[in-house]
């Protein structure tokens, strides 16, 4: 592989990185080629010792995604970090996706509980209309107001809990990448 082929392939594999980041990385490898040539090595020799652009790009992208997700928490970044981690090794799919799906399932279930508790008074009004003087109905109305409060608190707690989970999962991803890298 010539220097041109190596650089072009790496460039296109890294195209999703911001320009500054990508150019910086390419500059590192250009410097490496130039110094190697200066010391009398051929382009083919240098490219051969560097390793395949595909393997290098995978490693660079995984590192970048995790860094992104850490400094800027969002579902999109998290997804990208996961995709990058999974693409490092197919066998890893079960280790990353399994726990993630289980966690998501629990989260969704808890949110549904919170929402239905919160909406209990609405349910009461839909079923009985504006309450009359009947004791049982007033009891039900107050009970539903209590669950409404509980639902609200649960929702707030869940929002915090999701943030915490997000951070834990990132650590888990890092752990996975370290494992694949053998650290």
């Amino acid at each position: 592989m010539t220097r041109r082929e190596f650089m072009d392939e790496l460039d296109s594999l890294l195209r999703e990185l911001p320009d500054k980041e990508r150019l910086d990385i390419l500059a590192d490898y250009t410097e490496h080629f130039l110094i190697g040539l200066e010391r009398g090595k051929s382009e083919q020799e240098i490219a051969g010792s560097l390793g395949s652009p595909k393997a290098l790009a995978r490693e660079i992208l995984a590192g970048y995604r995790i860094h992104q997700a850490q400094s800027n928490a969002s579902v999109r970044n998290m997804t990208r970090a996961i995709v990058a981690t999974v693409s490092l090794g197919f066998f890893n799919l079960a280790f990353v996706l399994g726990p993630l799906l289980a966690l998501l399932g629990v989260l969704v279930a808890l949110f549904v509980v919170a929402i239905s508790l919160f909406l209990a008074p609405l349910g009461f009004l839909l079923q009985y209309g504006i309450p009359g003087v009947s004791h049982e109905r007033l009891m039900l109305l107050f009970a539903s107001m209590a669950t409404c409060g509980l639902g609200g608190m649960l929702a707030i707690g869940m929002a915090r809990f999701s943030g915490w989970l997000y951070r834990q999962f990132l650590r888990y991803l890092q752990f996975n990448v370290r494992m694949i890298r053998g650290k």
Binding site: E31, I35, L50, G51, I60, R181, G182
Partner: protein, 106 residues
Amino acid sequence: MNVQFKKGVLELCVLVLVAQKDRYGYELVATISEKFHIAEGTVYPLLRRLTMEGFFTAYLAESPEGPPRKYYQLTEKGRTYMNDLVLEWRIFARGVNEIIEEGIGL
């Protein structure tokens, strides 16, 4: 040698070499390649990561021949991290050596 294992050791080697004096990428790659075989390209992502984590700072310096070189310098944080890794490595290596000596002799 096992590839995964070697990659882990690579980080330690890079830290120690940069602790000795400021070095540029090619120099690091060449020094390590003399001792054991690596996929040379992986040194650069490693250098980026160590810089991003604050263990190295990087600066460009002209060279009498060829292009300017990006030099890496160890920070205080990097020195602490390196010392931890060296200690960990020594304990690990001693353990492995003892097991080998007891198992199959010197």
